[in-house]
């Protein structure tokens, strides 16, 4: 292929400013084109790389589209049963206090079936990091309603739109766990623009740094698209996300250094 605007002469190690971290396994991600999971994976691994903690990090993937996260994140991993990642992480961090431990969970996993495990790990003030991908839907199983599905939003189990009178309200679990004394840093971010990605990386760093302090859970929600589930193109999906998800799930820090800031 002819590369018209290519500048091979620039492609030297000194000039390298950005490349996919080696803490991602060198294989194609299993996610749909444009899905936010990939960006969060990469930022998380960049933080692990920056902190130099790759050999003392243990990650937990959920049941959801990111069930295969363990195939991509080049650290030791465990795959939890649906919803139970915080239980695994609780035990692991207590048994290996000098390891960095994180869970990576979807909204069905963390806020539906795993509600009790999430709330109690946060309430106990466990010393690990929770990364929570809120895409408002169950991606992996083919687009069913999630606790975070917006009112009126169509999914395969609310094909006429979520009717809050029957199906309940979208749940802001992040605001909820921020109320608990056991959380130390709670934030909501996104990864659809370069600026958002940079902020998410900072947030992830801060959340993992919490483990150095031992003062409780660091919790990073990432509002993300599930373009497959939403039945949009990735670009449309990101726009829809800005217009519809962000008003309900506003970005920004919610709790910093153990204090509510919002």
């Amino acid at each position: 292929m002819e590369e018209k605007f290519a500048h091979p002469e620039l492609r030297t190690p000194e000039n390298l400013v950005y490349k996919r971290t080696d803490f991602l396994v060198d294989r194609p991600l299993s996610y749909c084109p444009g899905c936010g999971h990939g960006v969060v994976h990469r930022m998380l691994m960049e933080v692990v790389e920056d902190k130099g903690i790759g050999s003392i990090t243990i990650g937990i993937s959920p049941v959801g589209c990111s069930v295969l996260a363990y195939d991509f994140l080049n650290v030791d991993m465990l795959g939890a049963a649906h919803g139970r990642a915080p239980a695994l992480a609780t035990a692991i961090k207590r048994l290996w206090p000098n390891r960095y431990v994180f869970t990576y969970q979807g909204d069905g996993d963390l806020a539906a079936i795993g509600t009790a495990e999430t709330i109690h790990a946060c309430n106990r003030g466990e010393n690990f990091t929770i990364i929570f991908i809120n895409n408002g839907i169950y991606g992996m199983t083919g687009g069913q309603m999630a606790p975070t599905t917006l009112p009126g939003m169509r999914t395969s189990t609310c094909p006429y739109g979520r009717d809050v009178g029957i199906m309940g309200h979208p749940m802001k679990i992040t605001e909820l766990i921020a109320q608990l004394p056991g959380t130390y840093y709670v934030t909501r971010q996104a990864v659809h623009t370069p600026a958002a990605v940079r902020k998410t990386k900072k947030a992830l760093r801060k959340a993992i740094d919490c483990q150095d302090l031992g003062k409780g859970i660091g919790f990073v929600e990432v509002v993300s698209n599930c373009n497959s589930g939403w039945k949009m193109t990735p670009v449309q999906a990101n726009q829809w996300m800005e217009e519809h998800m962000f008003p309900k799930y506003p970005l920004g820090d919610i709790k910093v250094d153990g204090e509510l800031v919002k």
Binding site: M1, E3, K4, F5, A6, H7, P8, L10, R11, T12, E14, N15, L16, V17, Y18, K19, R20, T21, L24, P28, L29, Y31, C32, P33, G34, C35, G36, H37, G38, V39, R42, V191, H192, T193, P194, V197, R198, T233, P234, V235, N238
Partner: protein, 75 residues
């Protein structure tokens, strides 16, 4: 005169043609190819020479397929 010049390398086989990178480029450097890769996806290509190596595209790329270089070059 010294100028910042950038270049990107797209891992074509890994690109899924999601087009998320396009809007992130401040200089409209990226567009989609006519051809498809072996998975059947159109992939990202450079369509002008204005890249400054800002890395925006690489940051937002869900599949992490973009590598970015940058150098001060004398024009």
């Amino acid at each position: 005169m010294a100028k910042i010049k950038g270049d990107i390398v797209v891992n074509i086989e890994r690109c899924k043609g999601c087009e998320v990178c396009i809007a992130s480029c401040p200089f409209s450097t990226i567009s989609m190819s006519e051809e498809v890769n072996s998975k059947g996806y159109h992939f990202a290509i450079k369509v002008n020479d204005d890249c400054t190596g800002c890395s925006n595209c690489a940051l937002v790329c869900p599949d992490g397929v973009i590598t970015v270089y940058r150098a001060k070059v004398t024009v």
